[in-house]
Amino acid sequence: MTLRFLPILSLLAAIAMPLGAAQAQAPLQAPATERAPDTMAARVLACASCHGAEGEGTSDIYFPRLAGKPAGYLYNQLVAFRDGRRKYPPMNYLLDFLPDEYLKKIAEHFASLRPPFPPPAVPTVSKEILARGESIATAGDPQRGVPACAGCHGATFGGMEPAIPGLLGLRASYISAQLGGWRYGTRTAAVPDCMQIVAGLLTEDDVKAVAAYLSSRPAPADPSFAKQGSLPMPLSCGSEPN
């Protein structure tokens, strides 16, 4: 009995030995079998190093929070960066060869996320300037025809579907850079370009005040954006169908 199995055993051993040896010698040659996770989060990891893994923003003062902004707004920005209307070379480069449908999915992904808001910024401006910012943001400056931010972006500044962004969780430097971009025409949107009109009415001091006020606001109790058409917009916007 034992004798009969011996040849088989030695044959088995002969097969097993070189196999084991090969494995020990060349572990690096083993084919990678692991697949990248089939999730949006894995696909947009490229965004994370500047915008955070959940689009919450990072310590860099010029990289905005993306999470919870309406998908239409995020999509418009992705298209604008891809097509060169909005200019920031690292973004223009990354999005260059991504089709509309995918950009839509990326926008919906970040719009659906609700990571915690950063702690509100401690204002570095005077109380008067902060008060001026609050007054423009909540009531506008009717004498100069400046509408309130809240008129379109909502009383809690959460934005409105489909394409008006929320204004909280952003840093003062980012907000003032964007308002500056609108004022000088380096940032534009679909005609009628309401933000260009509004920003054109603001002075540099106004911009500083509004940016300081908005960045100092605490996280909203309800971080979602308003339903489409629920806010009486004081002027019409090419990006926001009425």
């Binding site: 572990p27 690096l28 083993a30 084919p31 990678a32 692991e34 697949r35 990248a36 894995a42 696909r43 947009v44 990891l45 490229a46 965004c47 994370a48 190093s49 500047c50 860099d60 097509d83 060169g84 209307r85 070379p89 690292p90 223009n92 480069y93 990354l94 999005l95 260059d96 060869f97 991504l98 089709p99 449908e101 995918y102 999915k105």
Partner: protein
């Protein structure tokens, strides 16, 4: 009876006419479809459409070392486009690089490659371009530095670098190989980037497909003939076709200028043509597979660089590319054994670390995975360290890179 027949005659004639017309329409439709397909293979749209501009209306600035050229309107508008051109004149442009009035075309238009295109294919592209909506948009004047704004200089360039002539099939090779060669050397104009461009803006035939730095863009177009670079000698046909058509493969993914080519052109080619290109490209590879690593014993300095590099790699890269560089193909490309990382030129590897990148979104890979940029998170020393580590680990045989090389590429044009 005869009266009835007589009455029926016009109807009969009309029917015959209708059949004739339908046939002609079907022929036209087939021709237009072929022309559209070939225009894709030639990637006309990439240069002849400006950002946010109308399709084929031109106006895209092309920066060259000699100044900026603006591409032309190739829609059928009679005044500002090519609506008045005959098919002969169109062929003359494609084949010989001359405008209808005999004027010389700047060689940014790849007529050095398109000259290989057959008359029949040129006519199909012509028919297609006549069928697209005309756009009235005047061509913008080129903005070239003296003396390059003198078009007669092109004559000299042509004498040195232009060889007119339709593609001649090689009867000793397969039909696939010949079709692939026709597409790669002709409409595909792959040689425009993958053959080194010299100081005169020309590329020499003897160095065809040997690779080179793309002027102004600062991406390195690897050699297609050397297995040490992008030579595809040890790739399978499927790996090559995936790479060309989907933009990702188990061997690597396309980024930068090649992503543009896949996005606008190669993803639209059919199975047979993609395969033919793969067969031809694979045959270009000369010699054997890459030799084994021959890294000299590390000096104290480079071992310091390597240990910093490993530290950064383990922290920032390993979660996707794996502890030993195997990646998770095709979406997280392998780094071990990846030719593009080990090339003599480290430009592409450094750029990928600095700027990250997305492969193109294609029908075969509609939702690509992106590599994050690290320019703002890593110093020049750290970029050099991690790129050196990747280029020299796991059997990779690239040369170390310096912080200075990393620094220089921070200023590279991004798009």
């Amino acid at each position: 009876m005869p009266r009835t027949l007589k009455a029926l005659l016009p109807a009969f004639a009309a029917m015959l006419l209708l059949i004739g017309v339908t046939q002609a329409n079907a022929q036209d439709a087939a021709l237009l479809k072929k022309g559209e397909y070939l225009a894709r293979a030639g990637d006309c749209i990439a240069c002849h459409t400006a950002r946010e501009g109308k399709t084929f209306a031109g106006g895209l600035p092309m920066k060259t070392p000699f100044g900026t050229l603006y591409t032309s309107n190739i829609t059928p508008d009679p005044q500002t486009g090519i609506g008045m051109w005959t098919s002969d004149q169109f062929f003359q442009m494609m084949h010989n690089g001359r405008f209808p009035d005999g004027g010389l075309v700047y060689p940014a238009m790849p007529f050095g490659s398109y000259t290989k295109v057959t008359r029949e294919d040129s006519d199909a592209i012509y028919a297609y371009l006549r069928s697209i909506p005309p756009v009235k948009q005047r061509n913008r004047e080129h903005d070239l530095k003296f003396p390059f704004n003198n078009r007669s200089l092109i004559l000299g360039w042509r004498t040195l670098f232009f060889r007119e002539g339709e593609f001649k099939p090689d009867p000793t090779k397969s039909a696939d190989w010949n079709r692939g060669a026709y597409l790669v050397e002709g409409l595909g104009h792959c040689g425009m980037c993958h053959t080194a461009i010299n100081a005169l803006g020309g590329s020499s035939e003897s160095q065809a497909f040997e690779g080179g730095l793309i002027p102004m863009q600062n991406w390195y177009a690897p050699s297609l003939t050397s297995n040490k670079e992008a030579g595809l000698g040890d790739w399978t046909i499927e790996e090559i076709t995936d790479y060309l058509r989907k933009g990702v493969s188990t061997r690597g993914a396309v980024y930068g200028p090649m992503a543009e080519v896949v996005y606008n052109s190669l993803q639209y080619l059919d199975d047979e043509d993609t395969r033919a290109m793969a067969v031809y490209l694979k045959s270009l590879a000369q010699g054997t597979s890459p030799e084994k690593a021959s890294i000299p014993l590390p000096s104290a300095e480079s071992s310091l660089l390597l240990s910093l590099g490993k530290q950064i790699y383990d922290r920032e890269c390993a979660s996707c590319h794996g502890a030993v560089g195997l990646g998770m193909p095709p979406h997280y490309p392998p780094l071990a054994g990846n030719q593009s990382i080990q090339m003599v030129s480290a430009v592409n590897a450094i750029r990928m670390v600095l700027n990250g990148g997305y492969p193109p979104g294609t029908s075969g890979n509609p939702m690509p995975y992106g590599m994050p940029p690290f320019a703002h998170r890593l110093s020049d020393d750290e970029v050099a360290a991690v790129v050196t580590y990747i280029r020299t680990s796991w059997g990779n045989r690239g040369e170390p890179v310096s912080a200075r090389q990393a620094n220089e590429l921070r200023a590279a044009t991004l798009n």
